[in-house]
């Protein structure tokens, strides 16, 4: 039910590099899992609400104040793959040719 092209497209959407050998394996495995979950289509769910949480909670608020501990901030910055000062440095998001 799944083609190699489908798997490559999904891998692209998932931002995942996968090899040719993996592509074939995933094609079979994803196909059989989707075939299994398709049994839900037989259930009539007209008018049934979607369940998100055990208890109906809505509008959970907390004070809108900066709460970042400077030490935690420093430790988070330390883990950047590349940085300039306190800023995360990344490769260009837009290229000039576009």
């Amino acid at each position: 039910m799944f083609t190699t092209e489908d798997v490559k497209k999904i891998a692209k959407l998932s931002r995942l590099y996968i090899s040719e050998a993996e592509t074939e394996q995933y094609r079979e495995q994803l196909g059989s899992i989707l075939e299994y979950v398709d049994q839900l289509q037989a259930i009539d769910t007209t008018g049934v609400a979607e369940l998100q949480h055990a208890v109906a909670v809505e509008n959970v608020f907390r004070a809108d104040e900066p709460s970042c501990n400077p030490e935690e901030r420093r430790r988070a910055i330390e883990m950047f793959s590349a940085k300039k000062g306190d800023l995360l440095e990344v490769q260009a998001v837009f290229s000039k040719d576009v």
């Binding site: 998932s14 931002r15 299994y36 988070a76």
Partner: protein, 470 residues
Amino acid sequence: MKTIRALSEELKNGTLTSEELVRACLKKIEDENESLNAFIWVSPTAIDEAKAIDVRREAGEDLGVLAGIPIAVKDNILVQGWEITAGSQILENHVAAYSATVIKRLKNAGAILIGRTNMDEFAMGSSTETSHYGPTKNPHDKTKVPGGSSGGSAVAVAAGFVPCALGSDTGGSVRQPASLCGVVGLKPTYGRVSRYGLIPMASSLDQIGPFTLTVDDAALVMEIMEGKDENDATSIELSSTTAPELIEPDVKGLRIGLPKEYFVEGMDEEIRARIMEAVKKFETAGAIVKEVSLPHAKYALAAYYIVAPSEITSNLGRFDGLRYGYHSQGNDLLDTYERTRGEGFGREVKRRIMLGSYTLSAGYYDAYYKKALQVRTLIKQDFDEVLKEVDVILTPTSLSVGWDLGAKFDDPLTMYLSDIYTITANLAAIPAISIPCGTAHGLPVGLQLMGKAFDEHMLYRAGMWFEKNT
């Protein structure tokens, strides 16, 4: 290893110090962990922390029941300053910048955090074989899997390394390994325990829960961990907590439901026999047992394998190789993302990310994710109806006892099916516990009790009675 209750008593009356206890744990881990691979890493500061508790106790400070008690932590719960990998290469050498709320609460209570336990990569698996750090073995038979994904934590308690370990349960990841390793494992009601600082897998299903030797111990640990946390908007203000001391000592009049959908033709006869012997014991002690029906339970696994991968895809989007974790430089930004994630994630994780990308993609959302959430409602309605008639629902925890290492590794659907008895509680957002219930084929069997949302009390009552009378 003794129970938390017993160790706490000894620490209190001075026949044991926390330093002695922690040293004994570390010695056992040093001697036996290599063959089991339960711990990925052991804390070098545990002894000093234990000494500090001993000093406070000696100074006359009134310390709580967990003070000086060693606890192991699944490697997806953040402890500030500790490395954390979630069993994945993509987080190799990553150091937690802050601590999870449960960790802060346990530390405030004086618990000694011993180390990080092995797990399936990002908690995706039922056998603790997908870890980047190698498989964990079942202490009852080292050729068998311990279950998963919290296999390292289950083994840490079952092998007598520690009296308590933390796990996380998204589809059975605490209860199923507890069952396969012969210890107690609790999945609290969704919202009872803060998820802040737990590396998320499927956010609408994840809950942190304890592994212990007894139900009483599980209740003790829960008293410390549970309750509203402003850093987790889905955590709930509890109207009351359950003190284990307040639990009724009998099961007279307790109404137990046996769902016919869980006791089917072809199930393992030895497991069925153990469970029915337990049912008989409850009945003899005055419990009222009746057959009940959960007609939509058969769709739970299918709904789960839409809901979980969809949420996984979204949650694991944060691993971009830039802000933290593994980084593989590509020709451009997109190439860097694809390489980092392609190399950093293991097979099962990639499988579920792709599944989720598909089920959430344009044109498929209604057919998959929305449909699955509607089926969740139907499953929950079944449970709500049945739990009006009975106080607890009793089932086996697992279809089978521990299986051979490697046996289901390359067959995802068969692996997924091993969680068929546990997944419903996550989807219905209700509490469930696995309790040791004898052996089948020479390996531990687990009995599962499920109850109303936030009614852990009833699970403790039935569970504590059962373990006292077996």
